[in-house]
């Protein structure tokens, strides 16, 4: 599936990397802070250990942002920290679920078990990334993300009220903008063709319950 390993770029200019750490650490700290605030609005009080972990997490985020922690392997450090954040979120989200009752598992036991294991292993990934150097996180193709994700979301938003024809045509056109070498004339023709194909195939050919046109039609 992925034979090409993410670009083996190991260095980026020191200033750019500092910029990246500044932003990355700040984002992590901000999300951690949100999590902390949210944890105070739960029915049951969150265990002290979880609170402490979140606070430490925020502190690490700030330290990275301020350049106090040297990030030698950005992929591992940010990857591991994000997974720790995920497990902390799971701890907070499953806080109101009852745990062990005697020797029977409650609904909250397994999620917290997995979250704990995830946090422990991710911590090892982060520590590894702080002591050994590795490749940088290659930059994201923001154009692709915006248009592809935007087109999928617009499909989700349009399919019910506007029907299959408009939704799929619009999705195709928005999606095509993700490519740098987009050719609009060709794109419109392809989109029209595929829309026609889908409008015949799914509702008629496969008898799936699709609405073709807007409701008021």
């Amino acid at each position: 599936m992925s034979d090409a390993t993410p670009s083996g770029d190991w260095s980026r200019s020191a200033a750019a990397q500092r910029q990246y750490n500044l932003k990355g650490g700040a984002v992590l700290a901000a999300v951690g802070l949100l999590l902390l605030v949210w944890s105070f609005f739960l029915q049951n009080p969150v265990p002290l250990a979880v609170h402490a972990a979140i606070v430490i997490f925020i502190a690490v985020g700030i330290a990275i942002s301020a350049g106090l922690l040297r990030v030698l392997n950005p992929q591992d450090v940010y990857g591991g920290l994000a997974l720790i954040l995920l497990s902390l979120t799971a701890f907070v989200a499953s806080n109101d679920l009852p745990g062990m009752r005697g020797f029977a598992f409650g609904p909250g036991t397994a999620p917290r078990l997995f979250a704990f294991a995830l946090a422990a292993l991710s911590l090892a990934v982060v520590v590894g990334g702080l002591v050994t150097s590795g490749p940088i996180v290659s930059s994201y193709k923001i154009r692709g993300v915006i248009f592809i994700i935007g087109s999928i979301l617009s499909f989700a938003a349009a399919i019910r009220p506007l029907g299959l024809v408009i939704a799929s045509f619009a999705t195709m056109v928005i999606c095509a903008a993700a490519a740098e070498d987009v050719k609009w004339k060709e794109t419109l023709i392809v989109a029209a063709f595929v829309t026609a194909f889908c409008s015949v195939l799914f509702p008629y050919g496969l008898a799936l319950p699709f609405q073709l046109w807007p409701r008021f039609w």
């Binding site: 591992d76 005697g102 592809i148 299959l164 993700a178 490519a179 496969l206 799936l208």
Partner: protein, 500 residues
């Protein structure tokens, strides 16, 4: 023996009705059509095409799915050979020699030998599934919750060992998958778990949603980064049929690949991948001319292709005997079965024999179809691969959107897929392998259920996993594999195999 023939006969009589043959035919053509698209593996293909089987009767639907599955797999090898982009991890090895052969104008024989090898392996594995399926259901009786749990641990460890890159990071991916699978209603108490009060999440996150997002959309986002990277073989595909020396050279490789694939496929946790790697390595070892490997040796195509097909087929064994999906594709099959009201497990064979044996027989027919229809159609696939990517990916996106939407008629699912697309892209950026996550996600609910049951039966005594012999053995094997994977000498070798 008599039973075996009788059963296969029953299967054949179900599978060869004109309607069902037609369904296999359509399934394998459409499966290949989608599977050929670069970056779309069999998982995304099946997920995308699942809706077209909804309106069919159960037997017909499963038969068509089998066709789609084999079509998708074959389509993946076609892309590997012609474009050097593996459709999925199990055809990574095929790229090595397959694409070399194509560059030398021998794309035809490479494609043909892949199909012939797959067909032969499929035949052997079909008989094996039929022969082993019935006795192995007896094994299910020996398995209590503790054994099931340990077996799934073993499967997950397998997935870790097979993932490329850091073992530690693969483990975190498994746990991420397990954690994600916890979202939704609790099986026993019905309590809403981590649903954030969103009603659509109370059924849990759909498997197709995660798979399509991470593998489908995530892959497109990654492909957009280097649009010019695809080098399609420009030499015309001429002389489809392999020559006699080709066949002679490949025969042994096909045989060995089939044996390795059949054995490794039974193991849970991505047997098809290790099977193709193992078969390739073995061929290189036994070959008199190992220096030809990587330079277009036909054995290097024949062995892994037969191995992964055999493994794909025998991976039905854990599903049918124990009800455990050994890989994400099988998990999707479980989903398809449940939609048609079939619960996979040992009871399918006894309660719905015509469905079970019909499916086995149709797998074989699916393989046959591929040989018959695909070799003449190679020219069309080549032309399809020439379509510029800027037109291909919007089509892939729209088909994925419609596919996901039609599962539950839920726009929410489509939006979730978009989120998992970003997650998939992010994972690649941080060098995390998504495959173990998907397997963890698939096995999560089953693991939790069996863990809870085992603990309840043992009255909270966690040593039960070590005191029951089968369970202890399975865990010991898992630990052994894990240790092997972290040992420095073997690590080096493993990395060598992956980078080769």
């Amino acid at each position: 023996m008599f039973d075996l023939i009788h059963n296969l006969w029953l299967g054949m009589s179900v599978a060869v009705t004109p309607t069902n043959i037609g369904l296999v035919l359509i399934g394998s053509i459409v499966g290949t059509l989608i599977g050929v698209l670069p970056g779309i593996g069999s998982l995304a293909t099946i997920a995308m095409l699942l809706p077209i089987t909804f309106g069919l009767p159960p037997v017909g639907a499963l038969i068509m799915l089998a066709g789609i599955y084999y079509g998708a797999q074959y389509g993946g090898s076609t892309t590997s050979i012609l474009v050097n982009i593996p459709g999925e991890s199990s055809s990574v090895v095929t790229c090595l020699d397959g694409h070399e052969m194509a560059k030398r104008g021998r794309a035809g024989p490479a494609l043909a030998i892949a199909a012939i090898g797959s067909f032969f392996a499929g035949c052997v594995a079909t008989v094996l599934v039929a022969a082993l399926g019935a006795p192995l259901t007896g094994l299910a009786l020996l398995f209590g919750p503790a054994e099931y749990f340990s077996l799934m641990c073993l499967g997950l460890i397998f997935a870790v060992v097979l993932a490329k890159g850091s073992v530690l990071k693969a483990l975190t991916m498994i746990l991420t998958g397990l954690l994600l699978s916890m979202v939704g209603s609790d099986l026993e108490t019905g309590a809403e778990r981590m649903t954030w009060g969103i009603p659509e999440l109370s059924d849990g996150i759909g498997f197709v949603v995660v798979g399509m997002g991470v593998f489908g959309f995530g892959e497109i986002l990654r492909n957009l980064e280097n649009p010019g990277a695809r080098e399609i073989v420009n030499a015309a595909v001429t002389g489809l049929m392999p020559t006699l020396p080709d066949l002679k050279a490949a025969a042994g490789a096909i045989g060995r690949g089939t044996v390795i694939g059949s054995l490794l496929g039974i193991l849970p946790g991505g047997g098809a991948i290790i099977a193709s790697f193992a078969a390739y390595t073995l061929e290189k070892r036994v070959s008199k001319t190992p220096q030809n490997f990587g330079r277009g040796a036909i054995e290097g195509v024949a062995a892994p292709e037969s191995a992964n097909n055999a493994a794909a087929q025998t991976s039905f064994i854990p599903l049918l005997t124990l009800g455990i999906p050994p890989n994400p594709v099988m998990a999707l099959m479980v989903g398809a079965m449940t939609i048609h009201g079939i619960v996979p497990g040992p009871q399918v064979m006894t309660k719905q024999p015509e469905l079970f044996w019909g499916m086995i027989a149709s797998m074989w027919i699916g393989n046959l179809m591929l040989i018959v229809i695909n070799l003449p159609l190679v020219g069309i696939w080549v032309r399809l691969l020439r379509v510029p990517y800027r037109h291909l990916f919007p089509m892939i996106v729209i088909f994925c959107c419609i596919g996901v939407y039609s599962l539950n008629n839920a726009p929410f699912d489509v939006s979730m897929t978009a989120i998992f697309g970003i997650v998939g892209y992010w994972l690649v950026k941080h060098d995390f392998e998504p495959a173990p996550m998907i397997l963890g996600f698939v096995l999560g609910p089953l693991m939790e259920e069996n863990l809870r049951r085992a603990m309840l039966i043992a009255r909270g005594d966690a040593t039960v996993f070590l005191t029951r012999p089968i369970s202890a053995t399975l865990l010991a094997i898992a630990l052994f594999l894990l240790v092997l994977a972290v040992l420095p000498t073997l690590r080096a070798k493993r990395d060598e195999v992956f980078t080769e």
